[in-house]
Structures are given as structure tokens and as C-alpha cells.
């Protein structure tokens, strides 16, 4: 294997880790950054998206539409969750996290009871391509593009739409926004729904690459959480750079010692980083700027 192939493999792995971290964390980051709420049932919303995508694709829908259906379904579930539970717990972040954990437990076990221990998966589409004698999955490249597209889409949604302006106003000074006629409850509900839909999108996108089981949410949440913790409260200045840094760490360690050490190294890196940067990367960038 010559140097160029090495370099390509390494970049491919960083890209793969980056897209996984961005896609699994962005929904969580939107909800946390905008509302200060950590949703421990995030993994179950991802699971919901994956199930709907797999089911609708097996029912004959083309995969992109299936993924869209998964995102919409998870978004709808999220809105219901917000209405029934989260709404009553604003201003009590620790209670929210505990309550969403209860939802997570009930949802995992409920899915197991209703739908059985696993669901027939859908194969990874698009085949593979070859560089320097090694083959790589094309679908993984699609995932990388999707991750960048999601970030760009979120940037536009929060900076170029009316909803984005209202959401940012609500986040900055809630009572002032309310006084100016913004329906803050609806804004919170929509933001939570958006976060849930992004979780569903992540589940839908990764559904063709993994086995679909009720506990699949746990595969995502640890990575999602640490990305948000390292990133801090801002999606663009936090989550994206954090995903890049952590993705590189994980790719390095995975190449060196295997997948498990990639995950554990990730966690150790996170604990070291927060000792130095308690408010995450976005906290650092915003402080430098201020």
C-alpha cells in the first residue's frame, strides 16, 4: 500500500467517523443548544427513524423516500413527546434528562415487545468503489455528503428563515420574544420536533448499514453525547468542529488499535478536553471572539 492509498484510507475513515458523529449528534445539539434540554431518548428516536425507513423501504418505497418517512415519523413522535412530557419540565434540566430516560427505557422495551428482537434489514445500496486495490463502500461517501448537507441546511434554517429568526430570538431572551408576539411554546415544540426529525434522519441514513434491533439507539448515544459535550451549546461553532476533532481521534485510534479502542479513546479524549474547556469548543471560540 503506497502513501497515497494510506492517506486516502485515513481520510475516508475520518470522513466516516465525522459523518457518524455529526448525524447522530446534530438533533441532540439543536435541542440542547436551543432549549438547554438533553434528550436521553435521542437514541430511541434514531431507532424509530431506522424502523420506519426499513419498513417503508421493504414495503416498496425507494430508499430516499423511506429515509424521509423515517425522519418525519421521528419528528412527529418527538412533537408528541414534547407536548406530553418535556413541556412540563422546562427550567428543570435534570428532571428532563431523568424523564427522557424513562421514556427511553419504555420505548426500547416496548419496541421489543411489539416488534420482536430484530427486524429484517435492508442491504447497503450503491455497491463499492476501488482505490489502490482496496474497495470502499460508496454509500459511506453518501453519508459524508449528507452530514455536510445537514449542517448547511441547519445553518440556512436558523439564519435565513423566519422560523430561524424567531427561534434565535426565543433562545436569547424568551420573555422579550413573547412580549413581541412570538408564540414561544410553538417555537419550542417545533425546535424539539426538528431535533427529533434529525435523529430520525440519522436512523434512516444508517438503517441500511446496520442490524435493526430495539437497542440500536445505544450504538449512537454515547458518541452523540460526547460530541455535544465537547462541542458546547452552538451547533456550527461547536458540534461540527467537535465532530471533526473527535472523528480524527477515533479514526487514528481505530486504525491503530481497533474499533473498541477508538470508542474508549474517544471518551478519554472527551474527559481530558472538558477539564481544559468546560464550556466546550464553542465556548472557547465565542470567548476568543468576545
Amino acid at each position: 500500500m503506497d502513501l497515497l492509498t494510506h492517506a486516502f484510507t485515513f481520510l475516508y475513515q475520518i470522513g466516516d467517523a465525522f459523518s457518524f458523529l455529526v448525524l447522530s449528534a446534530c438533533g441532540l445539539a439543536v435541542v440542547f443548544g436551543m432549549m438547554g434540554v438533553i434528550n436521553l431518548a435521542h437514541g430511541e428516536l434514531i431507532m424509530c427513524g431506522a424502523y420506519v425507513t426499513a419498513a417503508s423501504t421493504r414495503a416498496g418505497l425507494p430508499l430516499p423516500l423511506g429515509i424521509l418517512a423515517g425522519a418525519l415519523a421521528a419528528g412527529a413522535v418527538g412533537m408528541v413527546m414534547e407536548r406530553l412530557v418535556i413541556r412540563h419540565l422546562y427550567g428543570r434540566p435534570l428532571d428532563t434528562i431523568v424523564a427522557t430516560w424513562g421514556i427511553s427505557l419504555a420505548a426500547t422495551q416496548g419496541t421489543l415487545i411489539l416488534l420482536g428482537s430484530s427486524m429484517p434489514g435492508i442491504g447497503t445500496p450503491l455497491g463499492s468503489f476501488t482505490v489502490g486495490g482496496y474497495s470502499y463502500s460508496t454509500y459511506r461517501v453518501v453519508l459524508m455528503v449528507a452530514a455536510v448537507a445537514v449542517l448547511a441546511g441547519l445553518y440556512l434554517a436558523f439564519n435565513a428563515t423566519r422560523f430561524g429568526t424567531l427561534a434565535r430570538a426565543t433562545i436569547q431572551v424568551p420573555h422579550m420574544a413573547e412580549a413581541l408576539g412570538v408564540d414561544t411554546r410553538t417555537v419550542y415544540a417545533l425546535t424539539f420536533g426538528l431535533g427529533a426529525a434529525l435523529a430520525g434522519l440519522a436512523g434512516g441514513l444508517y438503517a441500511p448499514t446496520m442490524t435493526i434491533v430495539p437497542t440500536m439507539g445505544t450504538t449512537f448515544i454515547m458518541e452523540a453525547f460526547v460530541t455535544v459535550v465537547v462541542g458546547g451549546a452552538d451547533i456550527f461553532l461547536g458540534t461540527a468542529p467537535a465532530a471533526l476533532v473527535l472523528g480524527t481521534v477515533r479514526a487514528l485510534l481505530t486504525t491503530w488499535q481497533g474499533q473498541l479502542f477508538g470508542q474508549i479513546g474517544l471518551l478519554v479524549a472527551v474527559i481530558l478536553v472538558i477539564r481544559v474547556l468546560p464550556r466546550g469548543i464553542s465556548g472557547l471560540i465565542l470567548r476568543e471572539r468576545a
Binding site: L94, G102, L105, A106, A107, I113, V226, L267, I271, V276
Partner: protein
Amino acid sequence: MAVTLAMTLLRRLEGPQTLGRGPAFWTAFALVVAAAIAYPWFADGYTVGNTAYFFCWVFMALGLCLIWGYGGALSFGQTAFFGLSGYAYGVLTLNVGAAYGFTLAALVLAVALSAVMAALLGYFLFFGRIGGVFLGIITLSVTLALERFMAQTAGPEWKIGAARLNGYNGMSGMPPLTVPWFDGDVVLFPDVALYYGLLALLIVVYLALRILVNARFGNVLVAIRENPERAEMLGYDVRRYQLAAFVIGSALAGLSGTLYTAWGQYITPSSMGLTAAALPVIWVAVGGRGDLTATLIGTLLVLGGFQALTIYGSQYALVVMGLLLVVVVLAAPDGLVVAGLRGLGRLRRRETGR
């Protein structure tokens, strides 16, 4: 002399940080202890061993109550220490054996290991001023990472001395706790002997924690929970107090793990998984995180309820537990036992016409 000593001790057991004081409470306490001592005479060995199994878990719940309820720092990763100590006990006893009371030394070492790891992790968390939701996430991630690590240790290369880690199937075959005695060792099988041992340990830990939270340490801890900035302005090093509470609570989780491993003579990685990590949070939240007694009662009730549910339909037990947690957080954030006690108090006040 003895009376004054007893009075001083009793005074230290009561205070603003615990519910239950005065002769009525301590009479009830004595009655409950007497009932618990008499209980094995009326039940068969299996049921008694099962009750001892409940006792194993209570230490972890009391530790979480100290960290979360009194210290205001929500740790989701107490099971990491539970598993760590459990595995440590297994590795130590499988290598050295149970002679000369080594199992007791292994118990102490395993708990000490958890305390050291908690101090290390806690240093990064509390001295990095990680608070609120992030603390929960990091600690949860730690326990999940430990579970993943232990789950992949199936191969023969994963062994410490004579002890194979055995991956997802977990370790088994370690000796139960053995107390050296004049006429031969007393082996604490999950039976009446272990029940009495755990009951004594539980009473000691419960009373010691009551003294701790009603002492200066507990008062400062509650002050930090109520308002960290104010506590800091008053000159208290918030980080040290929270770290100390975290270490004590985690050592108690380690104690639970060791006792559990010794009780069933096995430990598996799933004891550190997401579901296992949720259970202590459920016990403490349902009982009432703000009070040791409420946590103690709540934990035993929820454990009993969970086991009863498991018998009738094991698959529904977790759904019920999850929904119970949501309902408690929404409807009785201070916990069901605390809410119940308050209701009783109100009723009594109304009757006495005060």
C-alpha cells in the same frame, strides 16, 4: 455516662437534612429493625436469600442519594463502579482463594478501587466544573464504555492471573464472602447468615450517612445544591465537597457491586449497561432523592415491585419502570415516599388541630 453518650449519638443522627426525628421515629426504626431480625425465623431460606439480594442494591441507591439528592450532582454512571468493584472482587478471589478471610480483604480492596477511580474521574469532572446535565452524560458514557470493553473480553487472551474475563457471559465461580472463625470458616452463602451480615452492614451505613449529612459536611453539601455560587462566596470549595460526596457515593456503589458478585457468584458486563444504569436512578427518584430514609424505603419497594412484575411478565417490567419514572418526575418530583410522608404529616397536624 453511657446515657449521655447515647444521647449525643442520637442528636447527631437527627438534623435538618433528614426526615424523621424524635421518639416516635426511633421507636418505629427499632420496631422495623426488630422485625427484620425476626424475619428469617418465619421465612424459608430462599426468600431470605432473595431479601438479602435486595439489600445488596440499597448501598448503591444510598450513595446516589448522597451525590444527587444532597449534593445536587446527577451521576448516571454509578453502575460503572458497581461493575468495577464486582469484577475486582472476582479477579482477586479467583486468584487468591477464600482462605484466611481473604474474601473480606478482597471486599475492602474492591471498594477501595472504586473510590480511587471515582476520585480520578471526579477530579476531572468537578475540578473542570462540569455540572448539570453534562455530568450525567459523561458518567453515563463511562459506564457504557466499560460495558462495551468488558463485553469484548471473550477471548482466552483476556485474563488476569487465573481469572478469565469471559466477555458477555461474565465471570462466575468466585467464592462467597467467608468469615474466618475460631472453629472453622463461616461461609456467607445467600442464606440466613448473609442476610444478617448485610442487614447489620445496611444499618451501620444508613446511620453513618445520617450522621454525615447532618454534620457540617452535609449542611455545606446541601448549601451547594441549593446555590453553588452562594456557597462559594461564603468561602467553601464547592469542588472538594462535591468530589468527596462523589467518592463516598461511588464507593457505596462499589460495595453494592462487590456484595452482588459475592451473593450470586457471578458478574456480567450488562450490569454496567444502559438499563442497569437506569435502575438506581429510578429507585432514588421514586423513593425521594432528598432524603436517605425515603431512598431506602423507595428502593426496597421498587425492587420488590420490579421482581413481582418480572414474575408475571418479565418483558413488561421495564416498560412499567420507565413509565413510573416519567410519572414520578412529572407528578411527584420529590418522590413518592417523601410525598406520602408529607401527606401523613399534614393529616396528623389537621387532627391535632394545629
